[in-house]
Symmetry: C2
Amino acid sequence: MKKVGIALLGLGVVGSGTYRILKSKAENIKRDYGVELEVRQVLEKDLSKAEALGIDLSIVSCDIANVLNDKEISVVAEFFGGIEPAKTFLIACLKAGKSVVTSNKELFSKHWPELEAAAKETGAGIYFEASCGGGVPIIRALHESCQGNDILEIKGIVNGTTNYILSNMSEKGSDYADTLKEAQRLGYAEANPSADVDGFDSTYKLSILSSLSFRKRVPYTAIYREGISGVTKEDIKYGKEFGLTVKLLAISKNVGGKIEAHVYPAFIPDDHPLAKVSGAFNGIYVVGDNVGELMFYGKGAGDLPTGSAIVSDIVYAATHDIHKRYPFILEEEASDFNNDFESEYFIRLIAKDQTGVLSEITGILGKAGISIDSMVQKAGSHGKATIVLITQKTTELTFKAALDALKQAACIDEVANVIRVEK
Amino acid sequence: MKKVGIALLGLGVVGSGTYRILKSKAENIKRDYGVELEVRQVLEKDLSKAEALGIDLSIVSCDIANVLNDKEISVVAEFFGGIEPAKTFLIACLKAGKSVVTSNKELFSKHWPELEAAAKETGAGIYFEASCGGGVPIIRALHESCQGNDILEIKGIVNGTTNYILSNMSEKGSDYADTLKEAQRLGYAEANPSADVDGFDSTYKLSILSSLSFRKRVPYTAIYREGISGVTKEDIKYGKEFGLTVKLLAISKNVGGKIEAHVYPAFIPDDHPLAKVSGAFNGIYVVGDNVGELMFYGKGAGDLPTGSAIVSDIVYAATHDIHKRYPFILEEEASDFNNDFESEYFIRLIAKDQTGVLSEITGILGKAGISIDSMVQKAGSHGKATIVLITQKTTELTFKAALDALKQAACIDEVANVIRVEK
């Protein structure tokens, strides 16, 4: 039986989960895929983590040379996260002809071309199934199940932390700040939550998914980004009245050859397949011109779900001599972006509770060429009313101009919030 | 650039769709996958179909020898459906070293071992992504994304015809017979609808999905099967009152090493991910012991969606020299089935509208050890009442005994229907 040596760089949550799966499923993998996987080197400075997993400490070190010099190791799985030393180590492995497996979306979205070039040199493979949806097998699906399609659209919930926060705010009617604190207490959010709540993590993932879908590199820096900290419980409450649920969406579209790519909180209809993707789950909705709509759903994080995706890559890399190539990553960078994209908008206003207010508001929007889809008005205290409008489709620039006009209208005290609506 | 010759056996709906995709995406496939696909032979007796697609008639015939003798052809896609001549032709192709691609679930569920044995002889590949969920990439996901898992459960809506009928009955409150007629008129159901409505098609698909998941051959004959013709608009109406939606489900479970495999109509909660899979869509829910819950969703049929899955297999077969193997299909047939499986039940009764009826019914069920989860009673005319019960989990045999007792109870006129509930 073919025997393949593996190295694990890091024994954090996912690294440990991966080791446990490799150990518990070793016999299955031998029987079903005809390969014996042997973990021959582990890089980890905290020896107690290796001990807890029952790993022989003689194969644990902090020296990448131990991995590079072992000719029996042909697959290296990286769990460090962040750019360095992951980047230097992985490029060295690829140049040594070792295939690499990673869930490191930040590294991948920022340095895919360098990794791809190093891999191309030696014919080694680079695998990143776990990078965009945890356990959800979306990378394989886009690359090996959609060859007969031009991908028209991706719409994904790809960050479990923000989905947990928004789902909880929606279920419990709680504040953003309180829910974030609770998520931090439970370990669903980091002490510094910015990478998740400000949308960076989703942006990295969307860069990878868009590049694969549109067959040219979509840099994460070209993706419009808004986080979830501005979403309030009032917005969520009014959204419900319109049959809408708020989600942090990562959206890419190919509209007539121009790419639109954005990460922002948006309302979606309660009956959209993504609306039921709650808590720590991820859901990725894909539209191909031949296959039509597809959706993929599963756990977006966690030691064993993400470890499952890592192991699927390790088995794939270990059983193939000719590896997958992504030539377009080296050849073409997307440059034709449409930033004046169309959306519908949810607008929540605090206005004076007097006659004529509604006609003034609809007048301002109408003058800008924006039609109103639906509207609700609630009387408040102190002569104020809350007015919530859903507009029909309009472009970003048109909307911004109309919003400025609304802010200056005498009858409006405050534009309390604006959230996009995706149908 | 690598050039690979293709043969298409049949130009029906999916065969024609596949040809159109191969033609329209030829440049994409060359650019992204480094292979030029050339359709070199087509088997089709109706030449007008070939003409409509612009196929040079010199490559169209009814003679498989033209395919077998062309050494440039290394991938053969079959669209005949049914057992013969598909089986004889595909085995001949495999023995000639040509990889085969098919969506033929009947052939595959009945004769996979013969196909696998022929493929093993020459190292040719057999690919069947389009067999179980139309455009939904479920085969690749089970085989190449779940290697680090034991699959615990599959729960699928894999037949678009029955899903269309049940979705329509639910939306419009219409009868089964009328809805079937309408589906036939629109081309969603065959003139002889038995293969779909009696659950045979779902059973074939579940046999393939279960074999892949449990790594031993699960013969379709071992799968318990009930069709949808007994579901009435009254059942659907009462189901709604309990927050339940009816679907034809294909379910396989691995419960402590014993396999439970069934196809039957069942109620699922409105908030289950499968409940929103309506109309001609398919949805397949999978639970792995490490990855947890996954769901795959997309169009279950149609020329281009199914053609998309066929083309993904053709590209895969054309770009790999070492093909996928399913050794377990030749080695082990599942024999350890549990037929006394657990379910919850929806029971709709017509009873005499008199005091003591409910206590008599709950008494009968209680004596059998069956607890009631929820219940509704509606007064009808002529001194009759409709009583609808949802039981808690009970085994098949226990339930059948209790059902016999209910049928004999003096207070009950009729057990109008019984439908399983899957939570």
